[in-house]
Every structure is written in structure tokens, then in C-alpha cells.
């Protein structure tokens, strides 16, 4: 790296939230609609109108209980999931004075819980004598664990990383949520009596035969663990990172990143935007995002995009990377791009054609790419599970069972899951399916 290295120590800034009187005032704006639309679009089916009604009468504990019955991680989801595209989008108060700030209200409740001397813990029913193993402690795994425990099962969770939480602890940048919130809500799952084994690579240490002997079901909630690599022409020794790497090192603060000052990010997903925002927030001034299609083709959260733009992210649409220019030591000195031409096809997909001769060069010293995630195939191959064409585990959509009926799978390793709250809902569904199957076998 030609220029001075920059040492990043990580950063935290607590997202702002409403004070209690403000929260009561905000809750009082709610119409308490009949058959409230916000509750209907909630992926976890949270009775949002009921929550707001309780907050109005200052029954914060009751409101919190109502949230936590369906969503055990309100502090995380309200900060990370795009509520403005879910419950707040359909809020009927939108017409007069804007939607109720449901995310902020949930934040108030989660903060109330975290600061309370007796955080909310549901009553655990009598055991039904079933044991379930869960591989992966991301949102889907955690939500499934909670749902299983509340149905009287014993749950053991396996996590490859040092700390539980999956995308919570690795992939969500700290400017959205502080570690304290995540730690608290993940800790509450363990308080329910879920056993957690961390730092264990399931592919190496789990033996399916012995698993079948000691458990009644196995749930794979392993997510899409590996960043998708791409083939870049040129010398690939240079400063090339994946977006997930960056987020993880910023988050865990264990690896020290050395980044340059002119950064190019390839890819048009939420991860790219998060990386761009995070880097801009820690003081890097020149961050450019490259996307081969147009804004309307980006599947990203509105507020994340706006935040990134506000922080000063530069963006180039209809552009693809052609070549990396490096010196002999592998240090990047520039990147060559090509423009693309888009052609709408009938099945709402867009065909991308590179325009020949449209090459241009951008000065850059670091390349980050985030073009999607792929399944970590170790476990899948070991268990001989069938996979689908797009590289995910194949399951029965009704029961969430894989080709091996003992093994269930859910979350982003099975289908595309856009939001954390969506992943929680998937976890709850699979847990109910597991319980139903286990009880049917009895």
C-alpha cells in the first residue's frame, strides 16, 4: 500500500431513541385501527396495535411481553429491519401526520427491558421430552430455539464462531446497533435454558449417526456462510476484500484492517451499502459503489440507501469491473471499468450487455466486492443433502424437512430472506413444524 495505512479500531454509536414521555405521546397518535394493518404485515405476526395500546396507558411491561411473545429480539429488529417498508408503510396514520414510529417505540421497549432489573423471561412449559439440535445461532436458529423451548423441548445449539448471534454479531454494522443490545437479547435466549456450544465446526465434529441417537431432530440454520468469489482478470494479490470481511472485522474488532483511501465497492446489495456507510463513518472520504444495473434494480432497504448517500457515497450505475491495474508488488493503482447497456426482458429480468470500447479507469487503492453469499457446503455434503439449482438446501416447503427427514433446514440456507425479522419468522415456523412432526411420531 503506497499511502499511509489506516488502523481501524471499530466504532459504536448508540442509535437515538425516544424518551418515555415522547414514546407515550407517539403511541397516543395511533388510531388503534380495527384489524390493524401493521399487525397483519408483521412477519412475526406481532400484535402491534395491542403493544401501542398498552404503551399509551404506560403499561410498558405488558407491551414488552406482547412484543416478546412473538418477537424475542425487538431491540435488534427495530434497529436493523426496514420497519419503514413493513408495518410503518401500511400505517393508516400516514395520511395525517405520518406513520406511527413503530420501530422507535419498539426500541423504547427493548431499552426498557435491558435496563430493567428483571428482564422479561417467559414461563417455560413442562417438558415434552424431546431434544433438538440446532446448527447455527443466527436469527433463524435463535428464533427457532426460543419457539422450541416454549413448546417444551430441550435445545442444544452449535455455533462455529466464538460468539453466538450469526449475522447479529458479524454482519450488522455498529452504527445501526450497539453490541450491548445484541448481547442482551442473545443472552436472554440462553437464559431460557438453551445450551450453546461455540467454536465448534459442525462439519468436522458432528457425527450424524450419534446425532440421530441422542436427538429427536436436527435443524440446520446455517445461513449462507461464504461470500461469493468472483474471477478478476489481473494480479489478484492486491488489496481485495469481501464486504462481509470488512463488516466482520469492524464488528468483532479482532482483526485490524488496513485499507487505502480510495475505495471501490462492487455490488449493489445491502451489504455493499452497509460497508460503504461504515467506511465513510470511520473517516474514509472516497468511497465509490459500482453496480451493473440501475437504482430500481437494487434490492436494498430505502433508508440504508439514503443513509449511504447522505454519508457521501458515490455511486456509478451500469458499470462492470473489467480489469485491475497493479504494480509488481500487487498494490492496486487503478481499476478499469466498462459501461453496460440494459435490456428489459419479458420475465421482468434485465439482460446486461457490456458496451465494447466504453472502458474508463478509476483511481483506487482498495477493492471490496460483495456480490452475494453462497452456502457453506461442508455440512451439506457430509449429510448428503439435496440442493436446489441456486445452491441452497432443498426442503419440503410444507414441513421444512430436507431429503433426510431427520434434518430440517430454514432461513437463508433454504430461501432468499431479506430481513432479520423475516428470518425470525422462518425460525418460528420451522420450530412449529419440528414440534408437530415430533409429536406426530409419538
Amino acid at each position: 500500500m503506497a499511502n499511509m495505512p489506516k488502523v481501524i479500531k471499530g466504532f459504536t454509536s448508540e442509535t437515538t431513541t425516544l424518551s418515555y414521555p415522547e414514546a407515550i405521546e407517539e403511541a397516543a397518535r395511533c388510531y388503534l385501527c380495527h384489524d390493524a394493518p401493521c399487525s397483519q404485515v408483521s412477519p412475526t405476526r406481532t400484535d402491534i396495535a395491542g403493544v401501542i395500546s398498552r404503551m399509551r396507558s404506560r403499561n410498558f411491561r405488558g407491551a414488552l411481553r406482547l412484543v416478546k411473545e412473538t418477537n424475542f429480539f425487538p431491540g435488534i429488529t427495530s434497529r436493523v429491519s426496514p420497519y419503514d417498508e413493513l408495518c410503518e408503510e401500511v400505517c393508516l396514520r400516514r395520511k395525517f401526520g405520518g406513520p406511527i414510529r413503530i420501530a422507535e417505540l419498539e426500541r423504547v421497549l427493548s431499552d426498557y427491558d435491558r435496563r430493567s432489573r428483571h428482564p422479561y423471561l417467559p414461563e417455560i412449559p413442562e417438558s415434552i421430552g424431546k431434544k433438538v439440535a440446532i446448527v447455527g445461532s443466527g436469527p433463524t436458529g435463535l428464533a427457532a430455539a426460543v419457539e422450541l423451548v416454549l413448546n417444551g423441548c430441550k435445545v442444544i445449539m452449535y455455533e462455529a464462531a466464538r460468539v453466538p448471534g450469526g449475522v447479529f454479531t458479524k454482519g450488522i454494522p455498529s452504527y445501526l446497533i450497539s453490541d450491548e443490545v445484541i448481547e442482551h437479547e442473545v443472552q436472554m435466549v440462553l437464559e431460557l435454558g438453551v445450551d450453546l456450544v461455540t467454536g465448534i465446526n459442525a462439519g468436522e465434529s458432528i457425527n450424524l449417526v450419534s446425532m440421530k441417537r441422542s436427538f429427536d431432530a436436527l435443524l440446520l440454520a446455517i445461513g449462507m456462510g461464504m461470500p461469493r468469489r468472483f474471477q478478476i482478470p489481473g494480479n489478484i494479490k492486491g488489496d481485495i476484500f469481501t464486504g462481509v470481511d470488512i463488516l466482520e472485522s469492524l464488528k468483532l474488532k479482532e482483526k485490524r484492517l488496513r485499507l487505502g483511501e480510495k475505495i471501490v465497492i462492487v455490488g449493489g446489495g445491502n451489504v455493499s451499502l452497509d460497508v460503504a456507510t461504515a467506511l465513510l463513518k470511520i473517516g474514509i472520504e472516497d468511497v465509490t459503489l459500482i453496480y451493473r444495473r440501475d437504482r430500481q434494480h437494487m434490492h436494498v432497504f430505502r433508508n440504508r440507501y439514503e443513509l449511504a448517500k447522505k454519508c457521501g457515497m458515490k455511486i456509478r450505475f451500469r458499470t462492470v469491473l473489467k480489469e485491475i491495474v497493479c504494480n509488481d508488488q500487487g498494490t492496486i493503482s487503478g481499476l478499469i471499468f466498462q459501461r453496460t447497456d440494459l435490456k428489459e426482458k419479458d420475465d421482468s429480468k434485465v439482460e446486461i450487455n457490456v458496451i465494447e470500447g466504453s472502458e474508463f479507469t478509476l483511481e483506487a487503492d482498495t477493492l471490496i466486492y460483495s456480490i452475494g453469499q453462497v452456502l457453506d457446503r461442508d455440512l451439506v455434503d457430509q449429510f448428503n443433502l439435496e440442493t436446489t439449482e441456486d445452491g441452497r438446501i432443498k426442503v419440503n416447503p410444507e414441513t421444512n424437512q430436507t431429503s433426510d427427514p431427520f434434518i430440517f433446514a430454514a432461513g437463508s440456507c433454504v430461501e432468499r430472506v431479506n430481513t432479520v425479522i423475516g428470518a425470525l419468522a422462518k425460525g418460528q415456523t420451522v420450530a412449529r413444524n419440528i414440534v408437530a412432526r415430533m409429536l406426530a411420531e409419538k
Partner: protein
């Protein structure tokens, strides 16, 4: 259109009918002067009594005599109503005289109403005479206070017709040419009879108020009711914005029963709409207590602008022409003309699709509102009974209304 808020009450001309009643509670003259300077039509002084000690204007004495307050909250709204526990403490005649002289000297065009209280002939005569000599514009004698019955029981003076008549006559004599207003609890039973007695005794006006005993709330941590001093509490007088509907009903009852006396009303009015409503129910002088405590003396500008703009819009030249205009519309439940068909209507442009009208109608058991899959509510005119709960419950102002169907 030129609108004048000038009114004549008991023959006394005042620039507007808005009067501050007994604020501040312990009669600080500077504050009252500030109120008159801000534009209020007049002030009402605390009750003067022969037996009271002169006020020592020091914090150490105020501490024992001040009313203690507690607001009633509802969800996010603070002070929906106001309750206070007030020691029964009249001021001395000297203090009252001084206040009248000072205020009249500074604000000759405003009205100073002097409150008084008495329990026997001597007091009624002497106090009213001295207030008259001091230059009070109107003397208000408080007959709502408890008096010592020969039997040893404490009853409101106004309940004893003989005593009431005697007292009213003595006050009338003592007051000479000054108009006399009698303060009565609005809940008094024999309204027509009381009014008749007071009129015969020479009173010019009555002053009605509704301050029911209440408890604003209870501290749910230690179970002590509000407002409290340490661990002790007592019943409060409730006189905030929440008593308006009750005061309005009392005004209606008195307005229908009283002939030949002007009516003043105290409490519950917080904005110009309340004022207009009180006037429509028969009041011609409006007294403010809780509202001034909360909003300060600047409130009068809002009241003046609100009432005069309303009058201009209605093409009415003065407040007097509105007095009692709503009284003829009152009747009893069994006489309501229920034969016509009335149905609810929804303004689709304003509707937010919240479904509350649907919910309340089903809750009443009429099932007259249908909701489409897109949540659009429609009124089933065949089933609608025109009770109006949906109109009341609709969160959007003016979205729903009641219409009479042509036969």
C-alpha cells in the same frame, strides 16, 4: 363587520366579558394588575371577611395557606382536569379595600368584583358597606360556603331559604347602589325557588360554578391519593377543563329556571369555543380560574380573537345577542323527534380506512357498516339506526357525519 365585545353586566359596562377569578390564590396585587394590563375585562377578588387576619405576604405563611394542586392526565395529555385542595381562608377587609382602590385607580375602565362572605347580619351589612365605599364595581357574596346551623350542623347557606333571603337583603342594603351577585353551587336543587327569593331580595345576578369533590388520582407505588402532603390527602375541588360539560348542563338547568337575574359562570372554560357555548346556554359573564393558572394572563388575547372572529363570521354585532340562544333547543329524552330517518355518512376523501366505525357499530350490535377487502367502509342505509357512535369515534375530524334522509 365591526364586532364589539363590550358588554353590560348588571348595568356595569366592561370591555369584554372575561374575568379572572381569584388568581393568584393568595391575592398578590402585582399579578392582578398584570392580568388587567393584559386585557382581561375584570378581576374577581378573594372573599373578604370581618374575621380574617390581614395577609402577611411572606413565603413562610403562604406555605400553610396555599392550595395544593394535581392534574389529571390521560395517556399523553397532561392536565386534562385540575384538582386542588384549598384551605378555606378569606382575606381581611383591609386587604380587599386596598386591592379595590389600587386596581380601580390604575384601571378605571375595568371591573373589580369584590368577593365577600359572612355568617350573620353584622357581617353581611358591614362588609358589603365597606366594599361599596371602597369602590367595588360589583359585590359577589358567596352563599355556597358552609355556615353554622343553630343545630350545630354545617350546611351550605343557600340551602336554607329563610337565611338565604335574610342574607341577601342585608347584603343588598349594605351594598347601596353597587350591584350584587350571589355565588351559588350549581348543583342546588330548588333552582327556580332560590332564584325567585334572590330576585325579590334585590340581587342582580347569580354566579354559578361546578366544583365537584374529586380525587385526581392515586400514587400506584405507595397508594397515597393525589394531591398529597406527605402520606396524607383529602378530597379535591375539581375545576379544570373536564368539568365543562357538567357546567354547561347546570347552566342549561338554571337558564331555563331563572327569570330576571343575570348569570355569571365560573370554571371549565379554556378556550373561545367554551366561552361561546356558555353564552349560548345563558351566561353573560365568564370567569376563568384553572385556565389562567395553566395558560397565564395571555389567554385573554386568544379568547377575544376567537369570540370576535366567530361573531364576525356569524354576522352578530355583540355578545349579548347570543345569550341563551341554545336554551330553546333543549327538551327531554322522550320528546326527541325520533320519527325521521337519520343515517351516518362517510367522507371518503378524509377516510383513513382505520375501521373504527366498523368496530363500534358491530359492538353496538347493528352491523350497519361493511368493510371491503381494501378496508373501505360503507354504510348500509337499511341497517343504520343513526345513533352517531361511529361519528363520535371516528378519529378524523369532519370525516363522518349524520344526515337526515328525505322521506
Amino acid at each position: 363587520m365591526e364586532v364589539n365585545l363590550k358588554v353590560k353586566f348588571c348595568g356595569v359596562t366592561m370591555p369584554n366579558p372575561f374575568v379572572v377569578a381569584k388568581v393568584p390564590p393568595l391575592g398578590n396585587l402585582e399579578v392582578m394588575a398584570a392580568q388587567l394590563a393584559a386585557g382581561w375585562g375584570g378581576v374577581l377578588l378573594r372573599n373578604a371577611s370581618l374575621n380574617a387576619e390581614p395577609e402577611k405576604q411572606t413565603v413562610s405563611t403562604w406555605r400553610f395557606r396555599t392550595p395544593i394542586y394535581r392534574g389529571v392526565d390521560y395517556e399523553d395529555k397532561r392536565m386534562l382536569d385540575l384538582g386542588w385542595i384549598e384551605p378555606d381562608s378569606p382575606i381581611s377587609l383591609d386587604d380587599s379595600e386596598k386591592a379595590i382602590r389600587t386596581l380601580k385607580e390604575k384601571f378605571p375602565d375595568r371591573v373589580v368584583i369584590a368577593g365577600m362572605v359572612g355568617t350573620n347580619r353584622d357581617e353581611w351589612l358591614k362588609v358589603s358597606r365597606r366594599l361599596n365605599q371602597a369602590g367595588a364595581d360589583i359585590i359577589e357574596c358567596d352563599f355556597s360556603v358552609k355556615t353554622d346551623d343553630p343545630g350545630g350542623q354545617k350546611v351550605p347557606l343557600a340551602q336554607d331559604f329563610k337565611l338565604l333571603e335574610k342574607a341577601a337583603r342585608y347584603v343588598r342594603d349594605g351594598a347601596r347602589n353597587t350591584p350584587v351577585m350571589i355565588k351559588l353551587p350549581g348543583t342546588l336543587a330548588a333552582k327556580a325557588q332560590t332564584a325567585e327569593i334572590l330576585k325579590d331580595a334585590g340581587a342582580d345576578a347569580i354566579n354559578l360554578f361546578y366544583e365537584p369533590k374529586g380525587i385526581p388520582g392515586i400514587n400506584l407505588t405507595n397508594f397515597v391519593p393525589f394531591p398529597n402532603v406527605g402520606a396524607k390527602s383529602a378530597l379535591s375541588a375539581m375545576g379544570g377543563a373536564a368539568v365543562k360539560p357538567y357546567t354547561l348542563a347546570l347552566l342549561a338547568e338554571w337558564g331555563l329556571a331563572v327569570r330576571g337575574l343575570e348569570i355569571s359562570v365560573l370554571g371549565g372554560a379554556y378556550n373561545w369555543r367554551d366561552c361561546v357555548e356558555y353564552v349560548l346556554m345563558g351566561a353573560s359573564l365568564l370567569q376563568f380560574h384553572g385556565a389562567v393558572l395553566q395558560r397565564g394572563e395571555g389567554l385573554v388575547e386568544d379568547l377575544k380573537s376567537g369570540v370576535s372572529d366567530y361573531l364576525a363570521e356569524k354576522m352578530i354585532s355583540s355578545v349579548d345577542k347570543l345569550v341563551g340562544k341554545s336554551l330553546p333547543f333543549l327538551t327531554t329524552e322522550e320528546k326527541l323527534p325520533r320519527s325521521g330517518r337519520i343515517v351516518a355518512a362517510i367522507d371518503d376523501k378524509l377516510c383513513t380506512r382505520c375501521g373504527i366505525c366498523f368496530r363500534v357499530c358491530n359492538g353496538l350490535g347493528y352491523f350497519a357498516i361493511n368493510m371491503s377487502a381494501q378496508r373501505k367502509p360503507t354504510i348500509d342505509k337499511k341497517k343504520c339506526v343513526g345513533d352517531g357512535l361511529c361519528v363520535a369515534a371516528c378519529p378524523v375530524v369532519n370525516c363522518m357525519s349524520l344526515r337526515r334522509l328525505a322521506k
